[in-house]
Symmetry: D2
Subunit: 146 residues, 4 copies
């Protein structure tokens, strides 16, 4: 079971990470070790070629992974990304973006996960992300209690 609810995570996103939240993120699902987020399409997301710009995808992926990590360790806001790697696979045409994040490894100090990004209604992945998060020390204690 997730240690953070959709409502809790959306509140964290909108109140505490406003630059990212202004993407208009909707959290669709959080379960233990995984999260699915949606960003409804907006015209200002486009870049030359008529496809969605990379930073929209990077912001969404980072937030989706933040949710997936919190699903395991609880709402530890001080968890921070230490590195993120994105491969852009296909140029997404206008449409909602979906991010499906899952935790590959949860350690005491680091969590590693991957995120697949999709255009709604299309099975072909548009970008693949791996990212590592540093877990704050007191969260370790929480994990030990869990």
């Amino acid at each position: 079971m997730s240690r953070v609810t959709i409502e809790e995570f959306e509140r964290i996103a909108y109140e505490r990470v406003p630059f990212v939240a202004q993407l208009g993120v909707i959290v669709e699902e959080i379960e233990a070790g995984a999260a699915r987020l949606r960003v409804p399409f907006r015209d200002d997301f486009l870049r030359p070629g008529g496809t969605i710009s990379g930073p929209v995808m990077m912001g969404l992926a980072d937030l989706a992974m933040y949710a997936a990590v919190m699903s395991r360790i609880g709402p530890e806001e001080l968890t921070v990304t230490t590195d993120l790697n994105i491969n852009f696979l296909r140029r997404p045409l206008p449409g909602d973006l979906l991010a499906e994040a899952k935790v590959l490894k949860l350690g005491k100090r680091l969590a590693v996960g991957e995120v697949g990004l999709f255009r709604d209604g299309d099975d072909d992945m548009v970008a693949h992300v791996t990212a590592t998060y540093s877990i704050p020390p007191q969260a370790d204690a929480d994990m030990a209690q869990a």
Copy 2:
């Protein structure tokens, strides 16, 4: 000498990549193979812990590298990022962010570069980025003529 001017690149950024431009990017310098961009601080860039959020840095770095590549190939808007890797080194306190991008390798089909991100007034790098860009085919022809 750069094949794109500061004015040309700012126009491309603000008209053609509006989501990224709304960071409030200022292009400070473009020379052949390098670019320096600034993002003035705004409160909504902060994240828990009182530091600047990762997606602000990723968007800035991607745009800075786009400028550095155009400094070599001209204003080829269809140049796209194929992958980007960021290591977050230090959590930047409130302040302007600077991105210093340089091209490591310009090939016919791909350009690779690195970007150092700094908080204005502080010599310690806050994030390091490497990224690869795919150059549109007709730009190859331009390069051959150059």
Copy 3:
């Protein structure tokens, strides 16, 4: 159906990439867009802590992805890695290593894939790799005919 057979790929690996082949690689399966390779354990693979060293995993993953790309484009030896990103998730104890590679995107110029590395008999992934390969121009022609 794969456009390269196990026998063809093992011959390429052992004759043409001898440094990597000396890992003792066994190609277990190649199908269209995917490959599974094994490296039987050897004592000299160990590093301090009694776990298998990173370069063994990187060499195996790179070769596995090379096989998966060839399964789609045929035995184009001049296909080269343009970038590779590895996240080490768990420290593998002595045992055979398995690499499961699959192509995420095959374009005309670039192929992108991911590789999961496992210790034989253990379901937990020990390392996750994404990598991009540049496809030689004449292979494009082959693909167009395919």
Copy 4:
């Protein structure tokens, strides 16, 4: 001043990481936060196209960064790579390979660095690497005492 000597590090490499050491690595210089290593050319390093294969470069870069981290924290053998990202920039023709590693950030738990790889006698970088290392807990204590 480096907290590990060339002799100490070469002993660690040859006795404790034999698979990597069999590249024939020579440690040319270690100073605080930086290291330069050389791998003399061997025919079995080549791959199709007559250039040096990627895994040779990855193994060398990983070992060079391991040395650079030890230059700051001492001979903590249990320091492990958590992720490594390599961009291959140019295909190196036969010749010695040089790796120049430097630490970008040394934290209590993680160290991040970058490595430039060069063919001896040529100023153009052939590959660029960033990598993160996890520092064993007791090394933190050593650092606090330092």
